[in-house]
Symmetry: C2
Subunit: 339 residues, 2 copies
């Protein structure tokens, strides 16, 4: 019947139009640059090619969706770690509030030095003193109270040099890499030496990483009941996982249980994670961010207290085929607020 055939033909046209529209959308997306903050070069090409080949079912390097795990160090890899790790800044900032509650601390080292505000003296505090400050400010409260304290701080505290929120000091090129991986079915995980509970507070909002995908250094909690009988978890000063160096592959096995196919770091603390990733065989991507841009960010090498990038690490990167990213040359801009 004529009317039927007209209907079918119109429906076909509608369908074809719809598909044409959808494919044009997809095409635009495929053709747009997924890493606009990266300069053209070997690093950018390698990243894009890796994602393309590992997600192409026709490629011999295809990685099945459930195995698509990409792990990212945080400090120095996805945000600024100078002049000190952000979490250490948080701990130092918490000392005055702590001393209000426990006035006896005001006359005890290292709290006395921190309260003096003498930046140089604070920067010189030995590691044991720093650990005392971490234990005092990161434990002894419920998980919920800790979360609330970190949330308030991270939404207000400013970086001493850039005078901006710490969460504004994320590297735009790395945010783009994380998004590119996620858009292609990868799960992006943090694997950070920083405190797992600390990073979880903002990981989803700032990086798009849900809190169950944050692997970090973990202090024990103790299940208990408050005075009203309500079950609570208290943070206690007992380290269960030191998620740095060899602790990174160990933490990955603990929390994820799968070997990453891509791993991103910036320092000797990430060496074992990259080695472990590469040892899985097949298509693997290992990348180190090199801080060589004193003008826009920082330049630091083997002598730095944090985020050391030694000559030995550079040698290993070269001989293993790891990508070394020059912040100065590979990144068009570092922060979203850069021109």
């Amino acid at each position: 019947m004529k009317s039927d055939s007209a209907f079918l033909s119109a429906a076909r046209v509608a369908t074809v139009t719809l598909f044409a529209f959808l494919s044009s959308c997809l095409q635009v997306r495929a053709e747009s640059d997924p890493l606009p903050s990266w300069n053209e070069g070997a690093a950018k090409t390698a990243i894009i090619d890796f994602v393309k080949t590992t997600t192409d079912p026709a490629s011999p390097k295809f990685v099945s969706p459930e195995a698509r795990i990409a792990t990212f160090d945080q400090d120095g890899t996805t945000w600024v770690e100078q002049p000190m790790y952000t979490q250490v800044m948080y701990c130092l900032d918490r000392v005055p509030a702590l001393a209000e509650k426990k006035p006896e601390l005001k006359s005890i080292e290292p709290f006395k030095t921190v309260l003096s505000g003498d930046r140089e003296a604070i920067a010189k505090l030995p590691k044991e003193d720093l650990l005392k400050i971490l234990a005092a400010t990161l434990t002894g409260m419920t998980v919920d109270d800790f979360n609330a304290e970190v949330k308030t701080w991270i939404e207000t505290a400013k970086h001493p040099r850039f005078k901006r929120l710490y969460t504004d000091l994320t590297y735009q090129p790395m945010l783009e890499v994380m998004r590119l991986f996620r858009d292609n079915g990868y799960k992006t995980y943090f694997v950070t030496g920083g405190g797992q509970d600390f990073v979880r507070v903002y990981a989803e909002r700032v990086y798009g990483v849900p809190l169950e995908q944050v692997v970090g250094s973990v202090g024990a909690t103790e299940f208990s009941h408050d005075k009203d009988g309500k079950p609570i978890l208290i943070k206690v000063p007992k380290l269960l996982l030191n998620d740095d160096n060899a602790g990174k592959p160990e933490g990955i096995h603990f929390v994820i249980g799968r070997r990453p196919v891509a791993a991103f770091g910036n320092s000797i603390g990430d060496k074992e994670m990259l080695e472990y990733t590469q040892a899985g065989g097949g298509a693997r991507l290992m990348l180190l961010v090199h801080h060589d841009d004193a003008e826009r960010e920082y330049a630091y090498g083997p002598d730095s207290k944090v985020g050391t990038f030694s000559d030995a690490l550079m040698d290993e990167a070269k001989s293993n085929g790891w990508i070394v990213v020059s912040m100065k040359n590979d990144w068009k801009r570092i922060f979203a607020f850069n021109p």
Copy 2:
């Protein structure tokens, strides 16, 4: 123009038809029984209602997708735990192979008793001896070797009473509950006192739980290099997380970082997990499986060595509004192979 209007009208008809077809598919699905192995009753109704209200955006009890976490104990909750935990059966079965490698064990207790095959004597081994057997059979190898050993065993070993694979002894009604939750956007996690690495080997295949969603008791691993310089993880006898009792909420916080909205258990080892879940407030579902079916499975109470379900736990369940499932009365069938 006439042709335009005919086109639009035909396209509209096509669209309406498509939507009608889609909604009829959805309707069929909504109307089919998601828990066919459950008898009608309070428990079944409560489970279905809970999933319905927490996923209905119009409900005051709506739970946002990222917060939809449901945790399941394994032994005695989703599969048989009698006459011993499956993992203990595995460890006992590994002793002969271990003694081949280390013949000196043949004359040392408790290995001597295990090798004797005397079931009664084995069942009477004190806890310290059992821990020695666990340490000897669960550590000292790479993670990859351990996985391969468990995989072989779980695919061949048979349960002494049922003469079936252990993976056939999963509770069909609980598999249906897990699927119902997943079909409604929940992430289903195991939170088991069993070894995390052990359960990960079969969790996805048998239960549909991906290995990164298995929280269990965790022994440390040590990152190292084999004789060819290849990075490996060795399982070492150091307990990082005893995921039972208070260890369950602690393990949940460690690995998931979110409080469950639904928790399923069967023994006093699950008490703290259920309390912690309930303390989150709002819509919560807490459920205990009660083993009261000696004919089709087992009946055991406070005196049992495993999976104790004490009077005190029953009292707490009643006063807190936890669902107590009678395997005898609530479950039409227990195993998939039941008629």
